[in-house]
Symmetry: C2
Subunit: 907 residues, 2 copies
């Protein structure tokens, strides 16, 4: 099977050898449109006989017009002739008909330019359709298609095919047996009721979401066990999503095809309406999502995505609350913070050394007052608490997701369903590429090298931005006006962050393509491995892209700058950047907030809303131009024809990717930016409804895919959470001043207070030690002769035996920093493991329920068993008939169910 | 169900409320004895009719004789009367018979002392037996039991019960369909063939182990799909292990019972012989294990244990090789090691400060020469490489095990089998205890507190041993003869280690009981959670027990000792222990090797071989005493009667526990003891055969339990491997001198070599700075006046401004040590994750095979489907008979299969 993974849909066209075997049928979605549109195209849901339901639609392209004007005519004619001939052909499509030329030859005779290729396509299409009929599917070609150049094949799966495939797929279906879901009793129940009442307005107005007290026992569907199931209404026993995925299963098996989209279905009308009102609307943003309905409409895979997104958003609420409290704590204590008080003190008279050679001047420490105060907002003891909290929060989130997933698996009857992780379909590209592999091995290596060099581009660009900042800053330092200087410095920081953001946004798009290219070059063997490798690569590239500038600021800026008199230079003239006096935390914070907000606002919302709308518009205009005189006809288009103008479903990868990068912002540098969870929360509240709207109205309805879990995304989340621990440990100990303050307080402070800390962190420099050409051009800038200036570093004073060498304090602080990293990392990892271990993966009530189900199932079978035994005891073993109503049933069960077999089996 | 988890079998008697409901039937094993014994007791394998096979045996105790002499007579009489009456009762046991008094009343009338309790037991036994018959099992009581006081109930599961239960249990059985297992082709195949040829002598002489080219397609057994399976030989379709576990399943479901053991069976004779010769024998120690056979005989759970043990032993081979090489490298470079050369240099004239106050004397550094040289064996750069290697080795081992497990799952047809982790049976004790809980809540808390204080005992004992060493060492320092001094010092270390070992061995047994007690107090709800909690607690306690003294030596000894002139004291007079001049690594090594070797030799081998033999002997003697005049009769004992004297199977917990503690020794301190893997390897080669012998000959045959994985043990292994990384990081950076050497070489060495390192690590002490009463009693011991002595520490010299304060070098080395820990830990964790990620969990060939199986299964069904369709097409839907051989089958499948239904279904 190829193309089922939608992420490489386009590539498929170029790489798929399956195009050789598969007929050129392309898939089509029949979506539910906005409510007002849906009454006029009801009859598209059934075959011409008005009885057989359309379960799936395939589209194919009839020869495309080469010039828009002359061919529009011809294609319209083709169309009509084609469909007229079809009317005869589809009279009794249900039975495998004798091979008919059905229409296309006429088309061929009409259009003499139709080449061999077109002939070949048609031939393969017919072969494919024949195979489908052999599998028992019923096909009908649409007679009055109003979309030129596109043919539709409607597929109906009759009852016996549905039963057969359901058995093969081991679909769990509800049996007639109903049992009561045990409610917790005692105090738990009372609390539960209270909570339910309190959260009443938060639940969507959807029936299924309310606490159900009974549940149907489910059992893997089997034709021999039909009497277990309630088959009184065969039309609704398999819902439309299940029917579509059954047909899809047959298509996959029959032959390689690009078939991808199923159609909406009539019984889903009311469902769609509900989803539209109670889910895909901003007005219900404060409510829980009707996940059960989403799953019913879109299938388990998409249901899981929204369930995950919902849980994530929910979990962000406590995180943002604590984050806001931490931030407020910082705001409240800024006036009691001794180091910034000391810096801002009016009598503070410390002369600081110039920050660069020659061009810079001596300055007063008081000038750094503003930065120092602002830094305190993000650099206080509460931040340490908050990063531990967020690490545990992440562990808790993982655990809760595992439990939620288990609960959904139980509710959706997936508990027995084995995922086909081991038995994946090999990709058709694989075979082709293996053949070609030996031919161009060296070419491939070459390409991989080029591709990986793209990662270098990120670093180059980050470096470019750094250079921009350095040079501008250096230029600004030449200015003598201190106010412009500090103002312009802020401007430089902000513009640099914005440039970074723009670069990130552009590279993000580029990297998506690069990742796909790399994965294609690797030629993974199966679709699943293709998708996983692609996701992994994309993730790594986008992650590096988003976080490189931030990591640079957090860990590399302001290190190895040298000292006054011997500043470190790269490329002769560019000095290493230094952070402001309060540490680099403030700048890290600016960079983080701009990147995060910018990414969310621009990329997620603007791109996500804007681009699909634009694309839809373009498609619409295109088709309008092609057939503008048929406007009135368009209103009567079949639903699958209107759906043809919708954007195809491109997989959940972009949605998950966006969220996981956001998860990175929330957890990775949370020590320096406690408001990140709040921003994420606000974004996600919109995001859920945005995605919901997109899925309901903007995209073709995807095939319902079964899934038990969110797959590789869970592992990526775990990875991010792990990295977050170590990064936070380093941010706290190296970027913030937390450890130096602690060390001062407990090792050096004469009275155990923070008084004198600022003085302790600054070393002395004797201006006479300036080498020639490095001293400030204007030494009298401050109005007096400077003999000794100070700089922020732990170095020996000029009067020691080894002047300007790093001092003992430096090593002590470094050891403390490193010790903190070890302790922090291991304590947090241990605590996460304990959280992981304490919270059971399967909620207790679910595990009890599953146990109960198993017992009930055995009981059911044993009862049946005993009934049979009694029956046999009361009869001679010869083939006697009747007398007891068990006999006909026992026999009828043995007859295979075909569409002609309409006997009701309601044992 | 209670008591199925054998670890708390004995406790069960005291805690089980299920004894209230369940009949007093206790379980019995029918094992295969040594080959020479097995011909004489064949007929015990069948019911009296010689046809129905015995699938399971229950034993129960008839009133025990109160005085051995008078009651032996009566019980023998009872026995005979009882069984005579049984002969009537068991005439047609297959059908649920009318409730009969069957024997016991006669017993009751014989023995008037039989009390109400005995009556009650009998009543419940009968009720239970009736229930079993209702489930379709056939029962027979043994007529001529020769074991007084014990009654046997033989159970036979007729065909229809087997089928029904197999269907419920979703057992995967081989179908008739055979497919070829794809062999790899090309270079891979050639290498494979070569490897196979090379390892030919390593394979056991067992058919099944050779490469099979075909495999039966397996499918969950279902009576409706009987035609898929080859039922030509119904007797062998379900093998004896499966039959036993089916009966066990019924027993579990029927009522709470202590039933635990199944019996061997005739077709297994040759299997047993093979196992005895090709597995449970020391002469085949170099061969692979015939895991398939082990699984056939003992079931999946025990099969997995031996597969795991085998893989672990196999993986130890490369580890020991590398370990030996590392050790040899140490040996080879000992003469080129500059620090030890400097210490041992004849012209070395450094005077060292006394190691304790007053009692100790000045000494020459040369005295430490031997220790320094020996330390180099375990403290060289190769050790660092080796600990990284072992961390990766552990990750690799985990991954390989996952793959092996997957492969076994595939080979044993467990791929579809869902483990019942969520639907576990609640423990009967739970209900009882919940009732009693409120009554004695405070009592429980009290007990838990007492129990946890046991952990304190470990620490107390460790501390006691430390005190022993300190006091002896201090006493020895008073002696003036340097040779006795150094000799006795070694003796003290060794005796201390041996005392530690003995304490560990004793506490190990105590902790087993403590863990059980704690778990019982916790009242876990299900058997599984009980077992897991018990294992976890036992593991933690035993782990702490085994590693506390080692951790003390590695990380606490020799730290915080103070400096000459102000040594640190605890309890007034006991000084903190110091390590020899070469660091504590040497002592760590001694402690490790003694503990590891001692534990393995004494605990594992002596206890494991000796105690079961002893117990068997005691049982045998006991029974002999009871009936010594029946010796000749004993030879004709039924097999289940002889098996009665074997030790019951006590679960795999002790086996796994032993191995996991060993795994701890192999990985945790591998940086200090590179020979650990070698010792483990040697032990395990014996261990495998020892365990095999035990399982085959010493223990009753356990019920075959299905299992897909090794459960909690895998998590514990992972945990140990994780802890190993951080502990090794600390051993390398803090216990060994690796980091100080590195720091010296790159920061302080004038010429970049190690020359001068010894001098650099030692500080100066001015003897005039000794406080009163702290100076050595004999200052002229070395023959000259000492003015300045040296000691190993980084402190300021007496002539600095801050004498004896830790120096800048100290902080620099500390920072380097901490940095190394961070780098080592994170790099190794990252590499482990990469190993984890690179090695797929499912071997490629297995995943292909599973995929192939799925396709074949669908094909098979589709073919069958089409056959049916054609048949229906060729017939009118009326109930016509014959003409085509599909029809009778289709019908016969609908008739439930009972034991009276012998129609062969070989579609």
């Amino acid at each position: 099977m190829c193309g089922s993974s939608s992420v490489y849909q386009n590539k498929c066209i170029f790489f798929l050898p399956c195009l050789m075997h598969s007929p050129p049928l392309s898939p089509q979605l029949l979506n539910s449109l906005t409510p007002e549109e849906n009454t006029q195209c009801q009859h598209g849901l059934y075959f011409q006989d008005g009885e057989r339901r359309v379960d799936y639609i395939l589209t194919y392209h009839i020869k495309k017009p080469s010039s828009s004007r002359s061919n529009r005519q011809s294609s319209r004619f083709t169309d009509n002739a084609f469909t007229r001939s079809l009317r005869r052909g589809t009279a009794r499509l249900g039975r495998p008909p004798p091979p008919q030329p059905r229409g296309d030859p006429e088309v061929a005779s009409q259009d003499h330019s139709m080449d061999y290729h077109e002939d070949d396509k048609r031939y393969r299409r017919e072969e494919f359709e024949g195979n489908l009929r052999d599998m028992g599917l019923e096909l009908e070609k649409d007679e009055d298609t109003k979309t030129p150049g596109v043919g539709f094949v409607k597929i109906h799966a009759p009852w016996h095919v549905l039963c057969r495939e359901a058995e093969f797929m081991k679909l769990k279906m509800p049996t007639k047996k109903v049992y009561e879901v045990k409610q917790c009793s005692g105090v738990g129940a009372k609390i539960n009721t209270l909570v339910n009442k309190a959260t009443e307005p938060l639940h969507p107005n959807v029936e299924e979401n309310r606490g159900q007290h009974v549940k149907h026992l489910s059992y893997a569907f089997s034709r021999e066990k039909q009497h277990l199931f309630d088959l009184s209404d065969r039309d609704s026993f398999f819902d439309s999503k299940t029917r579509a995925s059954i047909v899809f299963e047959v298509l996959k098996r029959t032959k390689c095809t690009k078939a991808k989209y199923s159609m909406g279905n009539n019984p889903l009308r009311c469902l769609f309406q509900l989803l539209y009102e109670e889910w895909a609307s901003y007005s219900v943003f404060y409510k829980y999502q009707p996940i059960g309905l989403v799953r019913k409409y879109f299938g388990e895979k998409i249901g899981l995505y929204f369930a995950w997104l919902g849980l994530y958003t929910q979990m962000l609420i406590p995180a943002s609350l604590v984050g806001v409290i931490v931030f407020l704590y910082g705001c409240a204590t800024v006036d009691n913070n001794i180091p910034s008080m000391e810096i801002c003190h009016p009598r503070n008279n410390i002369t600081m050394c110039p920050l660069c050679d020659r061009a810079c001047n001596y300055w007063k420490l008081k000038e750094a007052c503003g930065t120092a105060r602002a830094s305190h907002l993000f650099d206080n003891p509460a931040t340490v608490f908050f990063s531990i909290f967020m690490a545990l929060w992440a562990a808790m989130f993982m655990e809760h997701w595992k439990r939620r997933q288990m609960r959904l698996n139980y509710e959706w009857d997936l508990t027995g369903f084995e995922e086909e992780e081991v038995s994946d379909h090999p990709r058709a590209e694989y075979e082709l590429c293996v053949m070609q592999k030996s031919l161009k091995k060296e070419h491939k290596t070459h390409k991989v090298l080029i591709a990986y060099s793209w990662i270098g581009v990120t670093f180059a660009i980050v470096f470019g931005v750094i250079l921009y900042r350095i040079s501008i800053t250096a230029a600004l330092h030449m200015s003598n006006n201190p106010t412009t200087r500090s103002n312009v410095r802020l401007m430089v920081k902000t513009t640099a962050a914005i440039i970074n953001l723009v670069v990130i946004l552009i590279l993000d798009e580029v990297y998506g393509a690069v990742a796909r290219w790399l994965t294609v070059l690797e030629v993974p063997k199966t679709d699943r491995s293709f998708e996983e490798r692609l996701i992994f690569k994309t993730f790594v590239l986008k992650f590096v892209n988003a976080f490189t500038p931030i990591i640079y600021i957090a860990f590399f800026r302001g290190r190895l700058v040298g000292r006054p008199g011997s500043y470190l230079y790269v490329f002769e003239s560019y000095r290493m950047e230094e952070c402001a006096h309060g540490g680099c935390l403030m700048e890290l914070c600016i960079q983080l907030s701009i990147t995060m907000l910018g990414k969310q606002l621009i990329q997620n919302n603007l791109f996500e809303i804007g681009i699909p709308k634009l694309k839809k518009l373009i498609r619409y205009i295109k088709s309008k131009r092609r057939s503008f005189q048929e406007e009135e006809r368009e209103k009567k288009l079949q639903r699958y024809e209107t759906d043809h103008f919708l954007e195809p479903f491109a997989g959940l990868t972009p949605e998950y990717m966006e969220m996981i990068i956001q998860f990175g912002f929330v957890t990775l540098f949370v020590a320096s930016f406690p408001l990140a969870p709040l921003f994420a929360l606000l974004n996600n509240i919109i995001e859920i409804r945005l995605d919901a709207k997109k899925f309901v109205a903007e995209l073709r309805r995807p095939v319902a895919a079964r899934a038990k879990d969110i797959g590789i995304w869970y592992n990526l989340l775990r990875g991010v959470a792990k990295v977050a621990v170590i990064i936070n440990a380093f941010v706290i100990s190296f970027t913030s001043d937390f450890i130096p303050r602690l060390v001062y307080q407990y090792m050096y402070s004469p009275d155990g207070s923070m008084h004198g800390f600022v003085n302790h962190t600054m070393s002395y420099f004797n201006v006479s030690d300036f080498q020639d050409g490095k001293e400030p051009m204007d030494p009298h800038h401050l109005g007096y002769q400077v003999e000794m200036c100070r700089y922020k570093d732990y170095r020996e004073p000029p009067w020691s035996n080894t002047p300007y060498v790093v001092s003992k304090e430096f090593w002590a602080v470094l050891a403390a920093r490193l010790a903190f990293v070890i302790v922090f990392q291991n304590v947090v990892m241990l605590m996460s493991d304990i959280v992981d271990w304490l919270i059971p993966d399967i909620p207790k009530d679910i595990s009890l329920q599953i146990h109960k189900e198993k017992i009930l199932m055995v009981e059911l079978f044993m009862k049946e068993e005993q009934g049979k035994m009694q029956f046999i005891d009361s009869m001679t073993p010869c083939d006697g008939k009747g007398r007891n109503n068990h006999a006909p049933i026992a026999r009828s069960r043995s007859i295979p169910h075909t569409h002609s077999h309409t006997h009701a089996n309601n044992f």
